[in-house]
Amino acid sequence: MRPDGTFPHPRLARRDFLYGMGASLGSVAFTSLLADEARRAGVSGPHLPAKAKNVIFLMMEGGPSHIDTFDPKPALERMHLKEFVREGKQKSAMESGRRYYVRSPFKFIKAGQSGADMAENWSHLAKVADELCFWRGCTVDSVNHPTAMYQMNTGNRFGGDPGIGAWVNYGLGSVNKDLPGFVVLPEASHPQGGAANWGSGYLPARLQGTPLRPKGAPVLDLLPPHGVSRDRQRANLDLLAKLNAAHAEAHPGRDDLAARMESYELAFRMQAQVPEALDLAGESARVREEYGLDSPVTASFGRKCLLARKLVEKGVRFVQLYHGSWDSHDFIERAHGNLVGAVDRPIAALIADLKRRGLLDSTLVVWCGEFGRTPDNGVRQGTAYGRDHNPNAMTIWMAGGGCKAGHTFGATDELGMEAVDLKRHVRDFHVTLLRLLGLDDNRLTFYHAGRFKQLSQFGGEVIRELIA
């Protein structure tokens, strides 16, 4: 406060704009400030030319069975219910007791011009089969859900490292300054391993994934308690700004104070922006029908897929959608049948919609779980055929974003137990994903705890086959 009893205007320091989930000035000067900040952080936009600018990551938590979805294993027909003997040093309790080979209960078809293998219950996805690039060679290190989830989502089995979305935003910067650059659409219950699956780790906190809750307030405490009007809130913010301005004048040179003042204004703007971004009321009846919003079976994941498209349109770099649990140890026909039924139509609609809007080229869609499943199972009650966790084989598919659409790469052995062709560790997939976005994993590094860290942990190799 000044000696004459008046309050100065809140100061706006340079760093004001660089905090929080970004500011909304949108001026050229601001853009250059951001670029400046990014340079100082060791990042300068894409390292290499690339098509993909955004990612929609469909995370099928629990471990979908490759054998029952996209990697048919006819050899299991003749092995069905023959006893299985497992070898290897890492015996886990999952391998205890008698086990039997189990055939897939699903029929397979050849979909699209490319003749992609699909279980026939993926009837909608089959219509966009030629947009998909299948890879059957991924391996991971863990048989346990949370550690495998962490590895798929952060590169590090033990959690605590930045999520892929944080790395992508760190590398490419965000576009919309009123929305976070990394948005997560989880199930009503968080996946195993919790929020660390989309944390920012040692990267700046603003890069962490913002989960939008499927029910209720999309962001916690986004709005004041019931009964507090926007006018009243504005009045409170005005008084706060005055008190803070007086305090800042008595404490010159403090960027942190100015940043904190700006974060309140940004929060006030977000209160208006976030609900608008999530409003599906403006979508046509046709779109709603396509995504399956009108059916109780598909509505939940359909809403997520439609939101993902809207968020990408608004400039959100990385949207991660969760579905599951796909952890079908028993009754795989019913369990996987229900799960596929819930996502098939929405995913197909998402790909078609992105294509129609000209967004598919610049949006990489990824579908995966944290591991695959085994060809064998302890048979329960005589008929409860299911499958257990398998870190040595899984199928990942991608669409758009410069991936090699209409092809299937890699292979597992004749029973689907282990990848045998184009068999690569998940870290190579991470490196490939970054490469599709024009980012070089070896240059997308952050110095922390004594060394330069990177998504792949220790470096990996691009899987060139998957890139168009």
């Binding site: 406060m1 009893g5 890492q90 886990s92 309790a93 999952m94 048989v143 859900h145 949370p146 219950s189 968080h190 195993q192 919790g194 929020a195 660390a196 906190a205 603003r206 809750r213 307030a217 916690l220 405490d221 986004l222 709005l223 004041p224 308690p225 019931h226 009964g227 009243r232 009045a235 409170n236 008084l239 706060l240 803070n244 305090h247 008595a250 404490h251 010159p252 040179g253 403090r254 104070l257 974060s263 929060a267 977000m270 649990s325 952890d327 079908s328 028993d330 009754f331 019913r334 369990a335 329960r380 009650q381 005589g382 966790h389 590094t445 705890a449 004594g450 060394r451 330069f452 990177q454």
Partner: protein, 920 residues
Amino acid sequence: MFLVVALQGQSSEELFVRRIQPLLQDKCLGCHGRDPEKIKGELDLRRPDALLKGGESGKPSVVVGKPQESPMFLSVERVHDDWEPMPPKQAERLTSEQLRWVRDWIEKGAALPGEARTKEILLTRKAAWDAEDGVTMKSGGGLSPEWDGRRYKPESLWAYMPLSKTAPPSGGHPVDAFIRARTPEGLKPAPQADRRTLLRRVSYGLTGLPPSEAEAEAFLADPSDDATAFAKVVDRLLASPHYGERMAQHWLDVVRYADSSGFANDYERGGAWRYRDYVVRSFNVDKPYDRFIREQVAGDEIAPDDPEMLVAVGFLRMGPWELTSMEVPKVARQRFLDDVTNAVGETFLAQSLQCARCHDHKFDPIATRDYYAVQAVFRTTQLAERPAPFLPTENQSGFDERRHLLAAREGHEETLRQLDEKSVAATEAWFKSSGVDDAPWKEALSKAGKVRGSRFAGARQYLLSRKVAEDRFPPRMLGWTPEEIGLERIARKGLERLKWELERYEPFALSVFDGRTPKVASVNAPVRPPADPFAEGEWEDAVILNGGDPFSPGPKVAPGVLGVLTAVPSAVPSFPVGRRKGLADWIVHPANPLAARAIVNRVWQWHFGKPLAANPNNFGSTGGRPTHPELLDWLASEFIAKGRTFKDLHRLILSSETYRRASVHPDPAAIAARDPKGESLAVFPPRRLTAEELRDSMLAATGELNRSVGGIPCRPEINQEAALQPRQVMGTFAAAWTPNPRPEQRHRRSLYVLRLRGLPDPRMEVFNQPPSDFSCEKREESVVAPQAFALFNGADSHARALALAAKSARDADDAEAVRRCFRAALGRDPSPAESRESLAHWARVKSLLGPKPAPVLPPVEVRRDAIEENTGTPFSFTERLHANAEFVPDLQPADVDDRVRALADLCLVLFNSNEFAHAP
């Protein structure tokens, strides 16, 4: 030409022998020759003259005299488009000095001396080069001779050197003298802070709480000189029980305290609170630091009959850990061993050890052998919840809340009973349709006992154990719908989880014992120690694990310590009991410079917000060097010499003028110009309050804070959506967050709030409360918009604001009410302008008030939508929140008049102000 070479002292030949050859070894041979089967780019550098020929590109790698045309140089320089950067990993790129060597070597002729010539050069030059190039260090012995012969820059080894005996420069307080000696020329320190600022600073620093109005008045009125009056305040605060709480918060950050185990199950650790309180007590009684260390590492070995010592070794259990049936026990066991090895290094020695797990440390003189020598100490350390009677000093109040858990247990048991009856009832139809004879089953049902409370399961087991074929009696889950299959699992897993929660009220310690490694496939209930810990289980040999892989044992190692500290004697026995005591004795040995430097560096940070050496968990060469090395060493020496009491160390630091400086410098431009990194401490660095301080300060301002010390964890209200958010754990959902029913139970200090790894309080998390999975050496102070959401919109802030408004408005006119709000929140009166603005705001808000909102009470039950995990069938169930039935809400808007409601908005603004949120 000759003259130039002589001036630079290095011929191309010499450069090759001294620099280029080792670089090729270190950076290139990994892909270009070490494994002749896997040579990349067809470039085989086992014979360096291959450089003149080149690889698959067909071009020579080196063009003599022309580095800018030499692919080798262009690759390592990493800027040319045609040549891929080498080595490929960014982290391994050459330093600018190494680049200069390569350039010079090529420019000067790219000499490739043969073997004989190399020997000749080494003979004459090696001694001189060694003197210039750095020193070798002792360790436990590396995996390769190259590593053993590695050279270190002497300045990167500061932490392993004995404490220097530099006396303080003359004049004034020793701390000030050391600080003054490193103050940039011409920079004048800021004047001393005023008493009000100082009191706020030191109250937060020593207790984490703001001063009361009475304390402020007493200090302001004290006629003694500033230094004397301040010393009295410091003594008063050090004697407060809240001192131990504040110090414990710092310590628990480092050791990763939590009340749950993390990972897939995130089971509660019922007895963890007793370790938390042990830490509080230890600081409050000013336990010497050496004793504090010995108790936490080896309390059970030092005094096996003292329950407090069984609690103290809870330190070793602080990391996240579990063993599920989906996991390989040996892998889980190794996870514990790796965790505890590194934790001891980081916590007490400021030396991260995990970097030496798979290979000798890349930067520090810590060999993989050292890592496994320390780990060998813990090879006989086993995890258990051990009987440990409660101590008279432990707060045992509130145990009656147990009845809510018992009610939940009864609910689960009832579900299982009903499902059991359903199965039994369905048998008749099963036998009818299958045509199987039901006589054996009827006999089993009448003769067999219950299994896990189930008659049906008892009968099945009875027949199974008599080898009756499985198709002769009904299958499991008979008569259940998919929904009921789900319900059974929820109830069964719920009972399992309750065992861990009920442990909270039992006299057991989260502890360890020495013995063989028990053979267990999974841990689903608290573990009791065996009667004879050496009778059964696996004897774990201490070995080096190749690549850190528990299935790849290498050479044996003896339990031991880090070889780098040659001056510190150690005696770690091979006998399975007493190893940890041996390790602890070595850590606290007065000649061990790491332990003493580590702790005084932490304490310095606790007061100044930044440490003297930048990374309190990492004094190695990748951590920051000390800004004031002489001061750090002097403090460490003093600390040891004076008996390692924390309170004396605080008095020493806090009595300096450096600590008492104002946080605003009269000449900010001078600071910006001469001390841009803010290392001089010419001005005191203010800090944002921590998440815990923010919450505790609001409760203190309203008078609601329950200041009782210690005891079982409390559960305040958290954001209701987060509280009820379904949380998946293995095979079921974790229980919802249920706040304590009574306000005084909820309004305890944040230190005592139940810390679940899988459910951080979003409000605390957003204000940088660290996750409990990693040691936190220093709190972050981020500024993000969600903080504004939490503090400005959150129900808790509004509740505190209302409480402060009600308290301030009682029997007071408007001006006095405003004055009370400022004094309670900010510890000062409002200025006339602030008063005017506040009164005007109050009136304006009154005009904007809508109708009173209805109170929001936590629900007594929640409906959970789940997917039965084996079948994918959706089902729902009801979770009853028994404690919520007795819930007594905080003061609600409906309880007060509009005058108070409107004043609450002023209080909310004050709680959100920058002044409130910072320690000055």
